[in-house]
Symmetry: C2
Subunit: 333 residues, 2 copies
């Protein structure tokens, strides 16, 4: 039983860093232990131009320093081929939000077939598609109902690389394995939570995220592929900071803030399940293979030493605030 664990070039394949002061506060917390992260484009306004991509990237780099790669994404819309060719060198993919489902996605897309020409171009050019896969239906059914859209996408665009973002159900795991051009990210919290944790006892705003945590058999299906380092499954924290005033209020925004504790918690989980040898794949290698990226070098050593999760990082209350983790970050090189 090792007392230290070394991870090379960890990647967070789904991250929200927001803007302005919040960005300056949270982005460095990710950059401290991750080599790179896929940056979500649901800012205000959404990232839809080359200028927006570039200035957002500069803002992140200014906060994080050089040894961190923000993999930028574009907010999905109807784009022509010339524009896509122009932005392609600057992005890792294009993020599709079905309209109105998550934070700042009111400008998302409501009819997916209108996007067919854009998807054709993306397929031709080799630009990946990242998808927030939820319908507008009943909250517990939204992801499962969206499976028909994934099937439509995967079948009609067989050479388009499609990432099912933050999957939360056994149904999504099943769909993932049906089509060669699908891969998925899984968050930290969805490897732990079911709806009971959010709303079964007290209502827990800091455990409330979208998609909402599901049923026990869904949790089991997610753990199975994550702990096995399934070659289609990557870590994507979906770490989503909201000031405490937006969480502990009469209307609580969706999102768990996990960036500063993700590696410690994953280490504990994989170690407990005797699958620690799979963690490197889950937090980096699979993503490098799936996206063909070479992240900046960063070696993170964790040690078996208790770490008390702070009650807050500035105005942001983290997931597991006040709890004690079994592993700490010892060194980052």
């Amino acid at each position: 039983m090792a007392d230290t664990i070394t991870l090379h070039n960890p990647l967070d394949m789904h991250l929200h860093v927001r803007q302005g002061d919040m960005l300056s506060h949270v982005a460095p917390l990710t950059a401290h232990t991750f080599s790179g992260a896929v940056i979500m484009p649901n800012t205000l306004p959404p990232v839809k131009t080359l200028e927006a991509i570039q200035s957002y990237k500069q803002e992140i780099l200014a906060a994080c320093g050089d040894n961190f790669e923000p993999y930028m994404t574009l907010f999905m819309d109807k784009y022509d081929r010339a524009f896509l060719q122009q932005v392609q060198p600057h992005i890792i993919g294009i993020k599709l939000y079905p309209a109105g489902i998550t934070t700042n996605s009111e400008g998302g897309v409501s009819s997916i077939d209108e996007l067919a020409p854009t998807l054709e171009h993306m397929q031709d050019l080799g630009i990946p598609l990242l998808v927030h896969g939820e319908s507008n239906g009943f909250v517990m059914d939204r992801e499962t109902e969206f499976m028909s859209v994934y099937t439509w996408l995967a079948t009609n665009f067989p050479d388009l690389n499609i990432t099912m973002e933050h999957i939360t159900t056994a149904a999504a795991v099943e769909t993932l394995h049906k089509f060669n051009n699908l891969r998925a990210t899984i968050t930290l919290q969805h490897l732990f939570l079911i709806l009971d944790d959010v709303a079964g006892g007290l209502l827990r705003p800091h455990l409330f995220c979208k998609p909402i945590a599901k049923r026990p058999h869904d949790l089991e299906a997610l753990r199975e592929v994550a702990l096995a380092a399934d070659p289609k499954v990557m870590f994507g924290s979906d770490s989503a900071p909201h000031p405490v005033s937006s969480k502990e209020s009469c209307g609580c925004a969706a999102g768990c803030f996990t960036a500063p504790i993700a590696l410690q918690v994953l280490c504990e989980l994989f170690e407990e399940h005797s699958t620690i040898e799979h963690l490197q794949r889950f937090v980096s290698t699979t993503a490098q293979e799936q996206y063909g990226v070479v992240p900046p070098k960063k070696t993170v050593t964790l040690e078996r030493k208790e770490f008390g999760v702070p009650d807050s990082y500035g105005s942001v209350v983290p997931y597991l605030h006040g709890e004690t983790l079994a592993w700490s970050i010892q060194q980052v090189e």
Copy 2:
């Protein structure tokens, strides 16, 4: 289309008035428009003795004045026949909480067959049983899983009057209609909410209650029996005040505070569905028949006039706070 509606002797067949300052604050809000209410016994400590029943009743009467009847309940436990005979004149029934399910129910019952002797006595003596019907299972399944317990109770104690409290599912409506000795209460909020309202957009602590709001077809089933004034269905608000600090916090207590707005909202609902002639049964007559009680006389006149729901009543944020209702209380005599 009438512009006033008169209700006679409204009854709230499931109410939490708490203790001390909170009681003094909220009990009169119910007594203002209701003739009587069934008072839940999940105080700290729970109501388990004759002295506790009597002093709790006195506390409520002192706050509410004479023209209001608190129908007292005893917290279910293993009680002998002599004790039950002694308390019978002072209570309307005995409330069973499966252990650990709701506010202050940690002292509840975990194995129901241990209660068989007590249930036998209650059946013999004609003391009704009131049940919080939830299992310890997955939050969305708890009520449905409990149907086997209702079946066991209704079958083994065919002459025991059993109230299925605050039912929330189509499954409960189905069970209700299977056995002659079952009747049910329905809250205000469960005639409006599904899980999406609580956790589908923002997370809404003031809409969080137990049992949690369920699926659209469950809502439909509840509305159907309430609006039809099904002869087994009674209004029971389950109005449950918590200070705002217990709601808008990192762990929000379950309960919607509806006491001061319940009749206005019910009036609007029944009127909109052209079933206003059924409201008198739903809010009073059925309960009088089911329990054989004769409440104090109180005539409540509502008028079609906008009423802005306050943002709070003291420290308690009500259901629909800040919204505008179509009906107001005009007069209470």
